[in-house]
Structures are given as structure tokens and as C-alpha cells.
């Protein structure tokens, strides 16, 4: 419990304090907070998140239904594939929509909303789907025998029962869209700005650190209220809904259900597949016809980066490995403390970096660690540390439930057989959560690999990561730069997808036990 607390104190609380000091140093920064442009940014941030959330929930429901209730060939594969967009790096998704949308329309509101739906569909499908999949089908049968038509059953039974899961998924998606950075930065063009991109613009482009700090405080307040709301919703999620085993619920589709299944799967395949296909196409479409030219160019020096793009791939993998190790240790220990129920405050503290937003984290690093007592700016270690902070909440969320699900009586049985508490942790808890740790490692690796918001602040220009390199390429005009960005995005996509699919396979095998 001490190690994660110390880690968070140094790398999260301290930078946050630096932001607070900067933002509030001369009293409340009303000139920034009250300005027309700030209010405009806040308003856009909120409503684009609301519209994105509504669209994601609506489009995610059919797929959630299909995966939760129906048995069809390739079901587990679809479950795994749906998850891929969620862990794809934001820059990859942005690059994909830049490749997909026609010239002239590739930047703007439609692109932003489409990318947000693409990203967060998995959240709705997974959260609502796993809840839906455990609702007792006896409830439908009962409603049917009482005379409810399928539509009435949906309205009067299914949706009310799903309400907690819908609310939970909705809050999460809203939070993600509210703090969206890479998508807005790359797809928003000059017109659209959210709090996140505005913090970045103030700090990195205008060097107005006080304004950036003030905007960060606004962001923190907004996200804090959202997280409180999410916690409230989550508490309701454990309501007295009769849950059944998955096997009793899933069955082969009949009649019109087949049509619905086909529609849901086709829609998902087109909506989720097309942008990625367009990205791959762009990466292969060299000026002299299709070929691997852009990929070969990754090995060559370029004016856009200080090093050959290939180095960025190596950097990213090394950074991500280090970040995964740190996130596993910090997140794992935090999960252990949280699971023993002694540390609800630690739970909140670990979750905060997730909500406080990566951009704020990166910005905090920049102003906290560039002057004594901690003048370590430019140290390559800041990158994996920042990435680990972003990944640790996911580790906690995966490992803590696994620890909590260990039957207390196993601990008692081991104790009575003579095992000391330390021995119980080593010989009982650790082997039992080993698979969860494996899953967490896969996710932490994928998240670190694609982390952009914090990394863009702390990565040195001679040590770029892949997302940073893609961002640089996309910032330059020309087909060669666009092609290089697409090629790098494809590489990043493959690495990330491999890590996540490996993690998901572990999860499936774990479920089979």
C-alpha cells in the first residue's frame, strides 16, 4: 500500500499541486475562466461528448444484444474484435478517419463524432452486453406469457433492467469523449477545440502556462463531478436484478432474430472495419501505385523527425514494456490494498489519473519536473512513468475484482493449515490472480503503446514514440507524409491489436476454468 501511494504522490499529486500553484498563484484566474472563448470551448466539449455518447449507446445496443443473447459461430471472436477499436491509439483512429473520409470532409464535426462512436462502441457492447447476458431469460418468458409483445418486452422489461448498465456505460463514454484529445486535435481542424486541446494549445503552442493551468483546473472540476456521478451509478449497478449463468441465457437465433443478428454484425463489420481498411489502403497507396514504399521509407531519415521513423517503433515498444512493468507493480499492489477493503481512498486516488486526463498529466510533468527540487525534464524515464499512470487504473480495475472474487474461506482454510498471511498472499492470491495479471499486462502494454496526451508533452524530440511521430507526420502537408503516417499507424495498430487479443485469449481461458 505504501509503494503505490508514494508513487502516486510523487508522480500524480505533486504535478497536480504544481498546476494548482501555477493556476491559483495570483488568485482565481477569472480572466481565463470567464472569457468568451473558454466558455465556448467548455460548451463544445460538453455537447460533443453528449451527442457522441447518445450515438454510441444507440449504435452499440444491437451488437450488445447479439453478443449477449445469441449463440453463433465466431461469437467469441466477434467479442474480442469489438474490443480492438477501444484500445487502438487515438492517433491511429484519427489517421484512419482521415484516410476514410473524402477530401474536404475529413476534418470537422462529423469526423469527430464518427471517431468517438468507433472508439467507444466496445464500452457499450462490453458493459451492457455482459449485464444483458446474465439477465434471467425467465423474465422474458414470464412477460410473454403475461401477454407482452416483443416491443413491449423491450420497453417494459429489458430497458428498465438494463438501465444501470446503460447508465454506467453512458457515463464512461461521456467521460472518454469529454476528455478526448488526440481525435479532436487531429480531426477537429482549427475550428473545434475541447478543454484538452485548449490546454495543449495554451501550454505547447502559446507558452501561456497560467492559462493552461487555469483550464486544467476547470477540466479537473468537470471530471471530478463526472467521476462522482459515475461512482454513484456504479453503486446502483449492484442492484437486486436476478442474474443467471451465461449458459442458460445464450441460445441460437430463431426467426427474425437471425435478421437482427445479420444486421448487427454487418453494421459492426462495416462501421468498425471500413476505417481501418481505409487506413491500410492509404498506407499502401504510393504515388507509383500500390506497394510497400511507405513502409520501406520508415527506415530512412526524414526531416519531420530527428531520427528515422523506425526508431520510434523501437522506442514505443521499450517505453511500453517499462510502463507495463511499473503499472503492474503499482496497480497490482494498489489492487491488493483495495481488495482488502482497507483503502477506498486509494481506489479513488488510482482512478483519478484516468479522469484527470492524460494531457493534464503531461502538462503537470512539464511544470513540476523542470525546476529544482526535481529537475528531471528530458529524462527518458518520464515517458514510461506517465504512461504507467494512465495504464495503472486499468490494471487495478482488472486485478482488484479478481482478488475480491477469491473466496474468503480459501484464506481461512490456508490459515488453519498453518500458512502465514505472507505465505497466503504468495501461494494462494498470486497464483489465483496470475491470469488477471496477464490480461492486465496486455492492456497496460496496449495503452502505453498508444498513449498520446501525456507522452506528447514529455517525449524528447530525439526519442519520439510512434503516436508522437504520427502526429508530426500528419501535421505536415504532402502525400508522402500522409502515407508515412498511415504506415506507422498500421504498425501501431497491429502491435496494439496483438497485445489486446493475446490478453483477451487469456481472459477467455480464465473464464473457462
Amino acid at each position: 500500500m505504501c509503494l503505490p501511494a508514494a508513487f502516486l504522490a510523487l508522480f500524480f499529486a505533486y504535478p497536480l499541486a504544481a498546476i494548482l500553484a501555477r493556476g491559483l498563484g495570483d488568485g482565481l484566474p477569472w480572466d481565463v475562466l470567464g472569457s468568451r472563448s473558454t466558455l465556448g470551448v467548455l460548451w463544445f466539449t460538453a455537447w460533443q461528448a453528449a451527442v457522441s455518447t447518445a450515438a454510441t449507446v444507440l449504435l452499440g445496443l444491437p451488437l450488445a444484444w447479439a453478443i449477449a443473447r445469441l449463440d453463433f459461430p465466431g461469437r467469441s471472436l466477434v467479442r474480442a474484435l469489438v474490443l480492438v477499436p477501444f484500445v487502438l491509439p487515438t492517433v491511429v483512429v484519427a489517421a484512419a478517419f482521415l484516410a476514410l473520409l473524402p477530401d474536404g470532409a475529413e476534418r470537422g464535426l462529423v469526423a469527430i463524432l464518427a471517431a468517438h462512436v468507433f472508439f467507444n462502441l466496445a464500452v457499450v457492447v462490453r458493459i451492457v452486453g455482459s449485464f444483458w447476458g446474465r439477465l434471467d431469460s425467465g423474465l422474458w418468458d414470464a412477460a410473454a406469457t403475461l401477454g407482452a409483445s416483443p416491443v413491449q418486452r423491450l420497453r417494459r422489461v429489458t430497458l428498465p433492467l438494463l438501465a444501470p448498465a446503460l447508465a454506467a456505460a453512458g457515463t464512461l463514454v461521456f467521460l472518454f469523449c469529454f476528455t478526448s484529445f488526440g481525435v479532436i486535435l487531429l480531426l477537429g481542424g482549427p475550428t473545434y477545440a475541447t478543454l484538452e486541446t485548449e490546454i495543449y494549445r495554451s501550454a505547447a503552442r502559446l507558452f501561456d502556462l497560467r492559462a493552461a493551468a487555469a483550464l486544467s483546473l476547470l477540466q479537473l472540476a468537470a471530471v471530478g463531478s463526472l467521476l462522482a456521478l459515475a461512482a454513484l451509478v456504479e453503486r446502483r449497478l449492484g442492484g437486486a436484478v436476478p442474474l443467471a449463468g451465461e449458459r442458460d441465457v445464450v441460445r441460437r437465433p430463431r426467426g427474425r432474430e437471425r435478421l437482427g443478428l445479420a444486421a448487427a454484425l454487418t453494421g459492426a463489420a462495416v462501421g468498425l472495419g471500413l476505417p481501418l481498411a481505409a487506413l491500410v489502403e492509404r498506407s499502401l497507396a504510393t504515388p507509383d501505385g500500390y506497394g510497400l514504399g511507405f513502409y520501406r521509407a520508415l527506415g530512412e531519415e526524414t526531416a519531420v523527425l530527428l531520427v528515422a521513423p523506425w526508431h520510434a517503433v523501437v522506442n514505443s515498444v521499450l517505453y511500453a514494456l517499462a510502463a507495463t512493468a511499473v503499472a503492474l507493480v503499482v496497480g497490482g499492489l494498489a489492487a491488493a490494498a483495495i481488495a482488502r477493503r482497507r483503502a477506498a481512498w486509494l481506489d479513488a486516488l488510482v482512478m483519478l489519473p484516468l479522469g484527470a486526463s492524460a494531457v493534464m498529466l503531461g502538462f503537470g510533468f512539464v511544470i513540476a519536473f523542470d525546476e529544482p527540487p526535481l529537475d528531471v525534464r528530458g529524462s527518458p524515464w518520464l515517458v514510461p512513468v506517465a504512461q504507467a499512470l494512465v495504464a495503472a487504473p486499468f490494471v487495478v480495475r482488472i486485478v482488484a475484482p479478481a482478488l475480491r472474487s477469491i473466496d474468503e474461506r480459501l484464506h481461512e482454510a490456508a490459515a488453519v493449515l498453518g500458512a502465514s498471511p505472507a505465505r497466503i498472499r504468495r501461494e494462494l492470491d498470486l497464483p489465483l490472480v496470475l491470469r488477471a495479471l496477464g490480461v492486465a499486462a496486455g492492456f497496460a502494454f496496449a495503452i502505453s503503446l498508444g498513449e498520446f496526451g501525456a507522452t506528447v508533452f514529455v517525449a524528447r524530440s530525439d526519442w519520439p514514440t510512434v503516436p508522437v511521430a504520427i502526429f508530426r507526420f500528419l501535421g505536415r502537408p504532402g502525400a508522402l507524409n500522409a502515407g508515412q503516417a498511415a504506415a506507422l499507424a498500421v504498425v501501431l495498430m497491429v502491435l496494439t491489436a496483438a497485445a489486446v487479443l493475446a490478453a483477451d485469449r487469456i481472459a477467455v481461458r480464465r473464464g473457462a476454468l
Binding site: 481461512e412 482454510a413 490459515a415 488453519v416 493449515l417 498453518g418 494462494l428
Partner: protein
Amino acid sequence: MLRADELRVSFDGAEALAGVDIAVAEGDRLAVLGPSGSGKSTLLRALAGLEPLRAGRITVDGVDVTTLPAHRRGVGLMLQEGALFPHLDVAGNVGFGLRVAGLVRSEREEGVAEALALVGLEGMDRRSVATLSGGERQRVALARALAPRPRVLLLDEPLGSLDGPLRERLLDELCELFDRLRLTLVHVTHDVGEAFAIGDRIAVMREGRIVQESTPDELWARPVDAWVARFLGLVNLRENGTLVRPEAVRLTPGEGATVVSARRRGATVRLRVRLDDGEELETVAATLEHPAPGERVAVEVDPAGIVRLGADPG
């Protein structure tokens, strides 16, 4: 051997154990019988060191173990539904206590084989615990508790999750095994039959207290009060503080009472009759033929079957 004096345990202010004393001599078997919520499981957990005491003292062989944590007490515990370690195979489960005690591999294997032989699971070492049947799980749990040769074995509803014939068979096996090993044990159950089958002595618990402790015969002959009698399944309680055993009530053709109901339960038929003075009595008939509801009968009661509650047999 095992002594507990004035044990008190509270949960959120409510007393789960309100001053419990027990004493089990070497080789003795105490069955603790009570309904759910009576505190019997709490008593067992307190003896094992899993429940912090508010007051009281526990000694094993005269040594005070009250403040010793569970893993240093050297008692064995077998829980309802086994609580087997899912990541270990059968041998890993049974050998767990030997391993944490620091035994080398050869000694461990010997101990595991011995314990598995005791419960009739020879050669199952490498089986995954997920593939075991309910009865096998309970046997593995028992072997695991026995392997480190605990001085006292504590059993918490060891057959609670099993049903029907399997439960009966395992109960017989347990009794036979306990006879053979002369184990000192405390067995907690809500099942009257189980308590009578296992215990040399039976302690009946109610609301955190032991309300009666005696041999099975004494308990059956002289329940201390109406609550105990009812819990033991004895019916025909009378307002004057006596009860009439069903097997002591004989029905013959005649007058004096009316049959209210007749229900067959396997080999016996339970009959309810209403005497003309309004009192109702239950009786058991072990015959194929029996009077039907509505029939008039004469009732005879064997005086030996009349029990005075709570009275000392002197």
C-alpha cells in the same frame, strides 16, 4: 484437551457468542447442534482462531492459545463445500498443510498418500479439483484437514452441501473413520441425525448460548425445555411440561379420538389424531394398513414414553 471458557464474540454490538464454555477430552467427539444463526459456526471459527474474541480463553492441552493466530494453532478445520484451492490439484490441496509446515517432498508424498487412503481416494493425486464430484470434494477437504495430523479436528457442516443417499453414505464413512482414528473433534451441524451419529456428547446452541450439553441418549430422553424438544423433532408437547413420544402412542379401533391426517413417509406412516378433549397427538405406525382420516380410534399411551422436560433424572 480442548477447553473454551466464557467465549464472547460480537458482531456490530450483537452477541454471536454470549459466554460459551466447552471441554472436549482427548479422543472425544463433541457435536454442536443448533439452527442457523445460533452461533455454532462462530464458535468453531473462534476455536480455529478465525474470529476475534471479545472475551474468553481457549486452551489446547493446557496451553493458552487464545491470542495465537489461526496459522499457529495446529487445529484442523473442514469447511462446508470444502473450500478447495482451485489452482492446485488433489495432491496439492491435501499436501498444502505439510508444505507450509516445511516437510520435504518424500515426507509430503507419504503424508498425502496416507491421507487420501484414509478417505478412500487412493491414486487421485493428480486430479484437478474442478473435476471432482460433490462427495469427492468433501473427502479431499477431509484428507487435507487430516494430513497435518491436527490435535483437534473442527468440522463445519461438512456434509451441508450434499444431499440424500450420498450424505447418508458419507456420514457412515465419517463415523467409521473417526472411530478408527480416535480423533478429538468438534462437529458443528444443524442436522439432528448427523449430531446424534457423530457426537459422543451433544451441545445444543441457541442464540449464542449452549442450552443443553449431554450424551445423545440423555438428550433424547430428557430435552431441557420445549425449544430443545421441538428442535430435536419431538412433537406432542403438552401444556403441563411433558411430552409424549410418537412411538409411545398406540391406536386401536374404538372411541375417544378422530384421525385428522395420515401421511406415509417411506416405511412409516405419521398419523395425527384429535382427542375428544381437543388435544392433538402425533403418532407413527410402521404397518402397511392404518386408519384413514375421519375414522374413530381409541388412543393408548405407554407411560414409558412420557417425558418430563428439564427435570433431573434423579
